[in-house]
Symmetry: C2
Subunit: 355 residues, 2 copies
């Protein structure tokens, strides 16, 4: 019998996979680590689930998710040809990197930002050129063009993760006008922000905007995201999409969610109220809180020891997310939960720093 030998491509041998936030099996925890929505999905989703016809599962789904994409196009005031639906926005990013990034076509992204981008670049044998954010408030550096020179794509998470802040949209517009490549704006958290870049994606030939149902739609468990932009960019990315990337049930439930704009607005309003109170409460305890435009806050305890705080919360069955590093390690990222969860969270935090 022959022995095991490593036949992987070198890029794959040397890369490390993405580590998702912990999904603990214990149900008693207060889980504030992966920016899920504390409120349930739209009643229309429950309704659609109740009327599912499992007999139809024997048939392949619509490969282009036409009904769902029409709903997305209506929502954003664009044409069906400017939309690609995907199995979560991670599926969008995987396709995006396969389409535009390799050893000769590097990517650029904020530092820090969503760590998946680096993993997807590594799989393509490419590096991500860092655009270093100001370590005090995570604002953009002046010389964006300098940090992105030679890149084929530049990804802006806006609002950014894990920092939660946003930045002037005009900067993105001006950057895209002058950038010789594709600008991807990752708007996973845009429903919690004051503005978004959808109009740039619909008017500029080199801007794409991605969205997800995992946050404002309370559908992290369903896996649904989409990307909007120039029809030629969409057409090219569709070549890389798994033919049937979105199953029948996901298409049906996602469409129900997309069409229920009012419910989403009401949930977002509750999260924004929770975010305002959480921010104020943490500041009152001496925390440094980055101004958030998302459904979480990035906050540094008075002693700037994020890891210690993370561990202390864990001992009290509260899970937040900690990102090691000279800058990020001072902070933890806290998802906005229900008022009751936030009450326990703040009381626990008070107890930790009272010692």
């Amino acid at each position: 019998m022959r022995a095991y030998k490593d036949y992987f491509r070198k890029d794959i041998q040397s890369m490390t996979g993405y580590t998702p936030g912990e999904q603990p099996k214990m149900e008693r925890l207060i889980k504030l680590n992966t920016n899920e929505n504390p409120y349930p999905p739209s009643p229309k989703v429950f309704e659609a689930a109740r009327s599912l016809d499992c007999e139809r599962l024997r048939r392949y789904p619509d490969p282009l998710a036409d009904h769902l994409c029409s709903a997305i196009a209506e929502l954003n005031g664009c044409s069906r040809e400017q939309v690609m639906a995907a199995n979560g926005s991670d599926d969008v990013f995987t396709i995006f990197f396969r389409a535009f990034v390799d050893a000769n076509h590097p990517a650029a992204a904020l530092e820090p930002t969503y760590s998946l981008y680096k993993v997807l670049a590594a799989a393509q044998g490419a590096k991500v050129m860092p655009i270093p954010l100001n370590p005090e408030d995570f604002s953009l550096p002046e010389d964006l063009a300098g940090f992105t020179r030679g890149a084929n794509v530049c990804i802006f998470a806006r609002p950014n993760a894990p920092t939660g802040n946003t930045y002037d949209k005009e900067i993105i517009r001006r950057f895209a006008e002058n950038f010789d490549g594709i600008v991807m704006v990752d708007e996973a958290y845009a429903d919690f922000a004051a503005d978004n870049c959808m109009d740039l994606a619909l008017s500029m030939p080199n801007v794409l905007v991605s969205r997800t149902s995992s946050k404002s739609y309370s559908l992290a468990g369903l896996r649904f995201g989409y990307v909007v932009g120039n029809a030629r960019l969409i057409h090219g990315m569709l070549k890389l999409k798994d033919s049937y990337n979105l199953d029948r049930i996901a298409q049906t439930l996602a469409e129900a969610a997309v069409r229920d704009v009012e419910y989403r607005k009401s949930v977002v309003a509750k999260v924004l109220a929770g975010r305002a109170k959480l921010t104020a409460d943490l500041k009152a305890l001496g925390f440094r809180v980055i101004d958030s435009a998302a459904n979480f806050v990035f906050a540094a305890p008075p002693d700037d020891d994020g890891e210690k705080y993370f561990r202390a919360l864990r001992d009290h069955a509260i899970i937040v997310r900690y990102f090691p590093g000279a800058v990020t390690g001072k902070f933890v990222r806290i998802t906005v939960g229900t008022p009751e969860e936030m009450r326990i969270f703040i009381e626990t935090t008070q107890a930790i720093y009272r010692k």
Copy 2:
């Protein structure tokens, strides 16, 4: 405003996407073109769907689909570490090509076979080296080693599509023992065949076996497939998997289906009876029918004009699949349907060739 410019990687610019079989919107058709199962999914799937808790959709799914993978491991008598679950077996193949194939690591595959492999290779900037099947009966050529020299992976669809035939498993075993690369056995149709290569995947360091729920499980609409093999191969491919590639609902319903072995066997038995009758009926009409080990037959009409037959069936609201080409163009691929569908299909075929 700047003009559109093509920023795609050259491989992507020049490639053509996969064309899935038509999913017509008309419901009155007899649809025999994409090898869906004519019988409904297991009653356990319906039961699982009825007890879905949509509130839980606000949470991310288990990234490694532990419960589902345990069910798959039990089914196949292997360990959890030898299994990766995916969003359909197309997701398995996408990950597989990204892991093992590029311009310097070519793939080899049967000719003709499942056309997706070529698309995935093209996206990696790689060619697929063809292993030409005997045009009479689609049996394997003698010199497998010769046709695959220098390839980093070799994919065997077994049973093959669109031809439906299978071939001696010992040939695969001996080939894998001597091949300096990875052997992927695509077993989408193996539940309809007399044997499969799962024991090779579990005993040899360079053999992977992929399975899908789209055929024998009647779950094409759910998107669920998996791959089994050496834990080190699985570990490497997991680096490329989207963290949450399988949604909560798909994990739950797929597990229900995987655990209902008896139901699947009963459905497969009905399909095999239908296949036997379809084969005999077509032969009685003078068709050349390739011995099928799948849930479809590949059959050439008396005049060897597959396209004419395909179009004539379509005029009678029956859709089969036609693959243009000097060899495949003589045939059409016909999915085994219900007895009633097969009765209409054979009567229509009789009428077409009576003219």
